[in-house]
């Protein structure tokens, strides 16, 4: 087996992957020049982001998690994290936060090498993760810029109540929109929002088609490693834009061709030859050794047919679409419905549904040291899913952006043992 990892420049990419990369690079360019172009900048988070609303105020959108993961893929976060720890941040806490703070301390140069501007407003629409709240308090402490909070209640009982929705809508009307109007100097136009939401729904339709294409054998996509490319635009600064709709149209066409040709997913080393194992994966990926991690799967013929991480910035495959006829209510339902804002029983049911609908051979948890929102309860979830589906489950541990917590030998060893176990089970079942 070839253990070498490709140089990123040599990696094979579909046209959509290149387009996604270009879009993200353009957003960094826009951020770098925002203030000299007289534009205002917002910072906000991926889960529960209000991208369509922010676009209504002509704000350039900065997403600190995306900065952290992009920096990690470029091997920059180890130094950032250590910088933050030197300045008093605990080794125990989220490395996305420390990477962001360390990057700021080291001059706030973004992942593409261009400077990131001081935000004019922090839009704290935190969904499913308490750390976000502290993160923006820490960023505000550094910048002293305006902060507006959108508190999104947790779906503890497995449903969105009228009280939750009204609370979110009320905050949007009374706090978020007036603050954005004041900071941007742009008056809110609900018809403009409706137009963006219409565009979002189009992109969401195509994204869901792409994700559900993995129900086929072989799956034409990898819904985890490939999935993070596919979700990039809709999870970040592009949802609601025509660019995003065009991206998803292109992606759908590309995946459709793969499907028609009976081809497997693209990997950095070309099309995957044989689909041997179909997995559902829970938890975010590791970003510092993303390619190496992915290779451990495709070298073994393992394809991820569904993942929870591709739902962290919005759950669309159970029917939700942004609705231009109910714009604020729709934004509320979007925020309330993000994956980590769902109770553990909901998440467990969702993964069981994926196991069934995507005909998975197994369930894998990639448990992330930084992320209690995902991690707390995953071991119980694993046992529940194993019990309910009768399929083998496995557990590995890595981190988001801290290279110290990616132990390739251990992870590879566990994965290989797991794949062997699935193969043995399959052989026994066939006998």
């Amino acid at each position: 087996m070839n253990a070498t990892v490709l140089n990123p420049r040599d990696a094979q990419k579909d046209a959509s992957m290149q387009l996604q990369k270009d879009m993200i690079a353009r957003n960094y360019d826009a951020l770098a020049t925002a203030h000299e172009m007289g534009k205002k900048v917002s910072s906000t988070f991926v889960p529960g982001n209000l991208n369509e609303l922010l676009m209504c105020f002509d704000l350039v959108r900065n997403l600190p998690e995306v900065n952290s993961l992009q920096s990690a893929m470029r091997k920059k976060t180890g130094a950032y994290i250590m910088e933050a720890e030197r300045s008093g941040h605990s080794e125990d806490v989220c490395t996305y936060v420390k990477s962001d703070l360390g990057m700021m301390a080291k001059g706030n140069i973004g992942p593409t090498g261009k400077p990131l501007p001081k935000p004019d407003v922090l839009v704290l629409s935190y969904t499913g993760c308490f750390t976000f709240m502290k993160w923006f308090e820490l960023v505000r402490d550094q910048y002293g810029c305006e902060t507006v909070m959108l508190h999104v209640p947790y779906q503890a009982d497995g449903r969105i109540t009228g009280n939750m929705r009204n609370y979110v809508v009320h905050q949007l009307k009374a706090n978020v929109i007036p603050t954005l109007e004041r900071v941007s100097g742009v008056r809110f136009d609900i018809d403009r929002l409706r137009e963006y939401l219409r565009e979002s729904a189009r992109a969401e339709e195509d994204l869901v088609w792409v994700l559900q294409s993995a129900r086929n054998r072989p799956s034409p996509i990898d819904a985890y490693f490939g999935g993070v490319y596919y979700c990039g635009p809709i999870f970040s600064a592009f949802r609601g834009s025509k660019e995003a709709s065009e991206y998803y149209r292109l992606l759908r066409g590309e995946v459709g061709e793969r499907l028609a040709g009976g081809r497997g997913p693209v990997t950095p080393e070309g099309d995957m030859a044989e689909e041997r194992f179909r997995l559902v994966v829970e938890g975010p990926p590791n970003w510092t050794s993303f390619r190496e991690f992915w290779k451990m799967f495709y070298d073994e013929g393992a394809v991820v047919v569904a993942s929870s991480y591709t739902k962290v910035g919005g759950v669309y495959d159970f029917g939700f679409r942004h609705d231009p006829d109910h714009p604020l209510e729709s934004l509320a339902d979007y925020c309330l419905g993000c994956y980590t804002n769902r109770s553990l029983p909901m998440r467990t049911n969702m993964m069981c549904t994926y196991m069934d609908e995507y005909q998975a051979d197994g369930f894998l948890v990639n448990s992330i040291k930084s992320c209690n929102s995902f991690a707390a309860g995953e071991l119980l979830m694993l046992r529940e899913i194993e019990e309910r589906t009768g399929k083998p489950a496995a557990f590995i541990e890595t981190d988001l952006v801290d290279p110290r917590y990616f132990s390739p030998a251990n992870v590879k060893n566990r994965l290989e043992s797991y794949f062997q176990m699935i193969a043995q089970k399959r052989t026994r079942a066939a006998a």
Binding site: S87, G88, H89, S90, D92, V93, C94, V97, L124, C129, F130, T131, M133, K134, W135, E137, L138, R140, D141, G144, T147, M149, H151, P153, Y154, A156, D157, N163, M164, N166, Y167, H170, Q171, A174, N175, S343, L344, P345, M346, R347, T348, S367, K369, N372, S373, A375, A376, G377, E378, L379, L380, E384, E397
Partner: protein, 387 residues
């Protein structure tokens, strides 16, 4: 009663991980229920008004061997959820008819879902509280959530909870808060008379005793300790912060004191001190509880501070009000809220020239010598170098 006998009783309650006193209370009140709650805050008034015994669950401390609990959690997650699961799966929490999981962090929030899966017959509620503190926004949301809790508790108790009962319960908790505030004031004035290890045990007793009994016990303690003069030491005065969820071992509190520190304020068991003022008894009782929560409640890392300039103000006010000479940051390992909060609070203290020291612990920490040395060095530095 003497101080010794009161503290001895509290210590027995503290040591009792089988919650015998809850079981005895239920036997003495046939048909009555008990409901557990975790840190930081739940409106115990509503539970009490339903005739249900509220029981604070703060993990297993250093007195519980965690065998099953570790199988539910990765090594990088704090200890309180694993010992709480341990308490439950070993049957120690069978006396509870339900559990409330307050909005504090991702771990406790997800524990509510684990409880739903593991204990499907039990009442489980994640108690979400607003991070928006405006009466007509966060307040309206909160009143509706309180109403849901009230309805749930009424169903469990087999009768609706009338306003009058909530007012009566609010009065009982007002009295309890008033006496606890008095105890804190007394300790700040004469810390040698109220060793914090004793105060801690007194507060812990309030998590399992009916509120009326706890209030009486506090009153008896105050009278008893005031009648027993104790030696005054040349200790420095500190505020400890960060211990609002996973509890420190009692030995850790004693170690800080033995190292030469008088603890004059803390964030232990905030449920008993969350509401800072008396809650009005006239008018809508849920609105009163809501307004108290929104406008006059304590600060902790689980709460969003809307204005940058207010960050750390609560802690600084405590230092000034209690004439503390320094702050001890003691946070549980892997406690995201406390550890993420700490650098901001430290910067606020730096701006005010207030010295501090910081360390981590776990509820089952056994080695106190390093903490004693660190706290002792901190106390010495204050004594020797502070102006």
């Amino acid at each position: 009663m003497s101080v010794k006998s009161i503290i001895s009783r509290c210590d027995a309650l503290f040591e009792d991980l089988d919650f015998h006193c809850v079981r005895e209370w239920k036997q003495a009140h046939p048909g009555a229920l008990a409901i557990g709650y975790m840190p930081i805050y739940v409106p115990r008034e509503l539970i009490h008004a339903a005739g249900i015994l509220p029981v604070g669950i703060l993990g297993g401390g250093d007195r519980l061997e965690v065998i099953h609990g570790d199988a539910y959690y990765q090594s990088y997650i704090c200890r309180i959820p694993r010992s709480t699961i341990e308490l439950a799966v070993t049957g120690r929490l069978d006396c509870l008819d339900g559990m409330l999981f307050p909005s504090i962090c991702d771990v406790i929030r997800n524990l509510s879902g684990m409880w739903q899966i593991k204990f499907p017959g039990k009442y489980v509620r994640y108690f979400d509280v607003p991070q928006n503190y405006e009466s007509d926004i966060g307040g309206q949301y909160y009143i509706n959530e309180l109403q849901v809790l009230r309805d749930d508790l009424g169903r469990l108790a087999g009768r609706p909870i009338p306003d009058a009962d909530i007012r009566a319960s609010t009065a009982a908790y007002n009295e309890n808060r008033r006496v606890i505030a008095g105890l804190y004031q007394y300790r700040a004035a004469k810390p040698w008379q109220v060793p914090t290890a004793e105060l801690y045990l007194l507060l812990r007793a309030g998590l399992v005793l009916p509120v009326e009994e706890h209030t009486r016990l506090l009153g008896e303690y105050l009278a008893a300790t005031d009648a027993e003069p104790r030696p005054v030491r040349d200790n420095c005065r500190v505020v400890v912060t960060g211990m609002f969820c996973e509890q420190p071992p009692l030995g850790l509190i004693k170690s800080i004191e033995m190292a030469g520190c008088y603890i004059v304020d803390d964030d232990f068991m905030l449920v008993a001190r969350w509401l800072l003022d008396e809650v009005p008894l006239e008018g809508d009782p849920l609105q009163n509880l809501s307004e108290a929560f929104l406008k006059r409640s304590a600060e902790s890392a689980a709460k969003f501070v809307a204005r940058r300039e207010d960050k750390g103000r609560f802690l600084i006010d405590s230092v000034r009000h209690n004439r503390a000479e320094g702050v001890v940051f003691a946070a549980p390992s892997f406690c995201d809220p406390a550890l993420l909060e700490r650098p901001m609070l430290q910067r606020a203290l730096n701006r005010e020239g207030i010295p501090y020291t910081a360390f981590k612990y776990a509820e089952n920490s056994g080695q106190m010598q390093p903490i004693r040395e660190q706290a002792g060095t901190f106390a010495d530095s204050i004594k020797l170098w502070s102006e």
